[in-house]
Symmetry: C2
Subunit: 104 residues, 2 copies
């Protein structure tokens, strides 16, 4: 049990993204999403402060073809599993804040 | 030409979402995405300040089945075209700000 638990923890650490490496890899993403995660084109979502697990899941879905997008299919094909974790770490690490809600 | 241009403008206005109506409809979304657009569960993305056209496109993709998600397929089936535009108007109207980027 102890050894199994340790393995799980180590595996989790090994898969964790490196935000700094993700920032460098985000050169691939910046034309549409910005290095700052703010959308530069009407079809692309903001990624700044997005949920890390959601970003990684969606990148893997684009890579596998489970989620369709002409642009993202091409980009995700170039990403390793580690790249995906790193990009998710980078974009999720950008702090966003939300002000007073519109209309009250 | 003048009449055609007017039609296009009027059509654009007719399809524009009503953020206030979207805020009310967001009761359907709040358990996962919050009325404030900040994710409440690990699998759901933040929606605050998201690009309006992107939100509408993705909701329509969930509704048509082009984009797969167990939760969103169920929710999107309940949304009219106008609901979709209203929700996109609501969530995109929430202002977000991004601070200094991590690491510099």
């Amino acid at each position: 049990m102890g050894a199994a638990a340790l393995f799980v923890i180590a595996s989790g650490n090994a898969r964790a993204g490196d935000a700094k490496a993700g920032r460098a890899k985000a050169q691939l993403c910046q034309a549409c999403h910005g290095v700052d995660g703010l959308s530069k084109v009407p079809d692309a979502p903001n990624l700044a402060g997005q949920v890390e697990g959601y970003l990684a899941t969606q990148l893997r879905a684009f890579k596998s073809g489970a989620r369709k997008s002409e642009a993202m299919t091409l980009v995700a094909a170039q990403l390793s599993d580690q790249d995906i974790d790193n990009l998710a770490a980078w974009y999720s690490s950008i702090e966003i804040s939300v002000g007073k809600l519109p209309g009250g």
